[in-house]
């Protein structure tokens, strides 16, 4: 990935002034540790319940126990372990969404910017229209027909999210088209497809990555709320949204069941948002992305 290269780091330093988002990076560190080492650091199997130790409060409460630091749920499953494993589902779904609509958006944006004319007009008009359609109604339709699942969520946001990418990529493409190296490639007789993918795409990859970092927080919130509504992942998966949905029924006497999974979401999203904002400020001083 060329955007972590040394050259860019230097550039960032020279542009200076913008402090790295230590809090954000710390949050991301927690999140990715959980994702990568879930099997090692989670004290229990996240799906294994113990009916003799249900709804134990966190360790600092009166009836808390050191065995379950963040307590257990109504089936006796360890909350901490479920949160740690839930990070994987969170990343899986959000990255799935972004890859899906990101590639759709990049391709449509490239075509739109490169072809121009009527094609461009149609795609951009479509993007305007798409942007105004609520994703949740598409989810309702798809979930009604296919049944709710993580896959349905990915597909829904996959088809709904492309316009943002398409617009940015189109804008970049339009300005790159005028640059000498692209013109030269044309003169040299490269095919349009080749120019698009081997000359223009590498030049906008940074923009695409920054945009993904900025957007992933929002996607995590969105997909978690859909799972919370029961339109996404189904029990017994470990998913933060789902944990909140289950915990909500016991809100009057097991506050920890609705507090900690939510905190996990907040930490993750905060991490991505802070890092994304910083990346944008450092890498994109002209503020093309907003």
């Amino acid at each position: 990935m060329n955007f972590f290269s040394k050259k860019n780091k230097k550039k960032a330093k020279r542009r200076g002034g913008v402090r790295p988002p230590y809090i954000g990076l710390f949050c991301l560190g927690l999140f990715f540790t959980a994702v990568i080492f879930a099997n090692v650091i989670a004290p229990y199997d996240p799906n294994e319940g113990d009916l003799f130790s249900t709804t134990i409060p966190p360790v600092w409460e009166k009836d808390g126990s050191l065995a379950h630091i963040l307590g257990t749920d109504m089936l006796g499953r360890d909350v901490l372990s479920r949160i740690i494993h839930g990070s994987r589902m969170s990343l899986l779904i959000s990255v799935g969404c972004i890859l899906f609509y990101g590639s759709l958006g990049v391709v449509l944006g490239l075509i739109s910017g490169f072809r121009g004319g009527r094609t461009d007009m149609v795609i951009m008009r479509l993007a305007d229209l798409w942007l105004s359609l609520p994703g949740v109604i598409v989810l309702f339709m798809l979930a009604a027909v296919h049944g709710p699942s993580a896959k349905t969520i990915i597909i829904t946001f996959g088809i709904m999210g492309w316009p943002g990418y398409a617009r940015i990529v189109r804008g970049e493409c339009l300005s790159l088209k005028q640059r000498d190296f692209v013109r030269l490639a044309r003169v040299a007789g490269c095919s349009k497809l080749r120019i698009m993918f081997s000359h223009i795409l590498p030049n906008i990859i940074n923009t695409i990555i920054i945009m993904a970092t900025i957007e992933i927080g929002g996607i995590i919130v969105m997909t978690a709320s859909m799972s919370f509504l029961g339109l996404g992942t189904q029990p017994p998966s470990c998913d933060w949204g789902l944990m909140l949905a289950e915990g909500r029924q016991y809100i009057t006497y097991a506050w920890w069941l609705v507090t900690f999974p939510g905190l996990a979401i907040v930490i993750t999203v905060l991490g991505f948002n802070l890092t994304g904002d910083w990346l944008r400020e450092v890498m994109d001083p002209k503020q093309k992305l907003r």
């Binding site: 994703g135 109604i137 909140l244």
Partner: protein
Amino acid sequence: MQGYIVKRILIAAFTVFTVLTVVFFVFRLGPADPVMVMLPPNATPQDAENLTKKFGLDKPLMVQYGNYLKNAFRGDFGSSFRFDEPALRVLLMRFPATLKLGLVTFILSVTVGLSIGLISAVKPDSIIDRIGRLFALAGMSLPSFWVGIMLILFFGVTLRWLPIAGRGTPLHYIMPAFCMSLYPIALITRLSRSSMLDALKSDYVVMARIKGVPEFYVILVHAFKNASIPVITVIFGIFGALMVGSAVVVEYIFSWPGIGRLVMESFFARDYPVVQVFVIVVTCMVVTLNLIVDIIYAYIDPRIRYQ
């Protein structure tokens, strides 16, 4: 100007038509048998046969599509299984509750978001700017459904200050409206701040100051008018789409008897005609909002008006 508006109305009509078509084909051509999908869980084979006849599902697809469109234009989208009433009427009965909450949210987000955004842009790095930026970050990072749950836990369960479900008194509005406006406030604050900053840096603002125009006039007339264009897009255009999602979530959490809760209930009761009508009505609403935005644009921007 007239040509412009007519063109927008045609586009809007075309959008609604497209959505009607997509809804039809998604529900009819999905992998599941539409009759089984449409039937309540405890239906008998006889029911299935009746339903097939009733919807004309034994006829060719194109004929079905024609009938569907014809009925749609008459406002007939089938009947709700649960209530045994036209689905559209079921939906419209629950509509005022959503509208009221939506309106409160809208006013709250626009006034708070816009004023924080403008003040921050006029006085960058002031206390209000710092608080505004912190709030915007929070609004972007806190999932509204979790905030809702936390509010219920704190103000409803622990302190018992506020009612946790239903509606009736103004007190009932506090938590849902706060919850729903958190994200829009953040969005509007950020956007109005950045577009106002851009406008204040522009040459026409410098020129206005050169002419000795007083500062409040520079800000409100010269800068704000220009800065308002992207903000309006978000407030009306994206707001509609955004609100639908969070209305469903918030109504679900706070048991608010609006269409968001209705569609959730209908979905889990497999009352799909209601879900279908929800999809269509919501799209029409969003399309109408976009039409309004386009007309407001023409009013603000002479370049569009004189096209």
